[in-house]
Symmetry: C2
Subunit: 254 residues, 2 copies
């Protein structure tokens, strides 16, 4: 392969430029909060026009890699990527894959169960009192009969996110982000009609007590029961969707 021919320039200037800058950030040649040259200067450096530079910067802005401000002290700055930003990116990607049917609900439920079981073991050792209190607060919320279904689901997500957080491992939290923030709502949307909210709150409380006592095995058992119940309800929902005698399930498409 002695062929290069000057690097195949047929891929779009903006794309190449954005990748150059992205690599510079990833490799640390551009420090966080460092201000990069003005758009005009960048255009001169790369020998392209300003709109092209702007398109390249937009690509990076879409990934939250840079931020821009107007004014004399303004300009384009390298962003410190926050965990929440990363979580959002992962959640979006996961949501897309779900909506395209790349995952089955059974896949999602299983992945969630396995990851959360891991978290239960770790959280039993490492949970803080604050995290315990946050879980208790969600349980209290979930007991409110006036709570809307959507809010109940949101509370459910927050509860389980707190569980993962209580495992005290940011890397694990990152890995779980996609499954929790995006996949669980998908599950909820399908089957929340069939979920007994009091039962859910009860199981949550059982889990909470186990973590309070730092009893990892009890926590795992509680979670397993919870997930098994969820799976039963999911199968029930699936059966009804397969043979929809009564329009019990509201159509997803409005």
């Amino acid at each position: 392969m002695a062929i290069d021919y000057q690097g195949l320039v047929t891929q779009g200037l903006a794309r190449q430029i954005s990748e150059k800058i992205r690599d510079a950030i990833l490799e640390g040649r551009l420090q966080v909060h460092e201000r990069l040259p003005t758009e005009e200067e960048l255009a001169a450096r790369f020998s392209v026009s300003r709109p092209t530079i702007r398109e390249a910067l937009k690509r990076l802005a879409a990934q939250n890699l840079i931020r821009s401000r107007r004014g004399p002290t303004g300009g384009t700055f390298v962003n410190r990527p926050s965990r929440d930003d990363a979580r959002g990116l992962v959640a979006t990607a996961a949501a897309l894959l779900v909506s395209m049917g790349e995952f089955t609900l059974a896949d999602i439920a299983e992945a969630r169960q396995q990851i959360e079981i891991v978290c239960c073991g770790l959280a039993a050792q490492r949970r803080t009192d604050e995290q315990l209190a946050a879980m208790a607060e969600e349980i209290r919320l979930q007991r409110d009969p006036a709570l809307l279904d959507a809010d109940f689901c949101a509370s459910d997500v927050r509860f389980h996110r707190t569980l993962v957080e209580a495992a005290g491992n940011p890397a694990l939290e990152f890995a779980a982000a996609g499954v929790l923030d995006s996949l669980q709502p998908a599950v909820n949307l399908v089957i929340f009609r069939f979920r007994d909210r009091r039962q859910v709150a009860l199981q949550h409380e059982r889990l909470h007590r186990a973590l309070e006592a730092r009893n990892g095995e009890a926590a795992c058992a509680a979670l397993t029961d919870y997930m098994n119940a969820l799976r039963r309800q999911y199968r029930k929902a699936q059966a009804l969707r397969a043979a929809p005698v009564a329009p019990a399930v509201g159509g997803v498409r409005g």
Copy 2:
């Protein structure tokens, strides 16, 4: 909160437009492979200029949500998001977080161990012969003394990715993508000098045999030993970095 004041238009037109289109895709109002209007028509619809539309489209292109082609049958099309694209996004985000020091190496190692242990149990039941063969091939590669360190690490990553794949759960695979594709190379870069390659290949083979026999517990045990050894070597590397008597570790910054 009776305040809205027409929705705060101070966020950038391109951003708003890209979010509108993104939501349309996520909610299924735009089908995959559907062609959306030409840039000119979009500009007219949104009452903005074409560069603004282009900036919005660039943001979406950066997320692989759309693709563009020139020509009469060209235009902008909705992309079917592939798992590899998603994996790439997650890996990039993870790499960024690692380079910013959001995760410690201990976090990463633990997350990897926990997730892979889960996969071991599932893979013992579900692994296909093809996956088994792929693992064997990697082991054969890893036994080659002429293999470069970088290639050895790459083979290591592929081996473990196959393990996750053998668990037969796409959602779990997605969750593990960040930890495997991006975090493990980071680990390898730090400590690969200290890893006994024959030892690694041996442990891999032990894992391979356990999966071949569909023995989940043996697979978990093999992986645990492997990860514990890795952790020991990591601590050794860390100690050397803390007190660098000899320049055994090449600087990362060249």
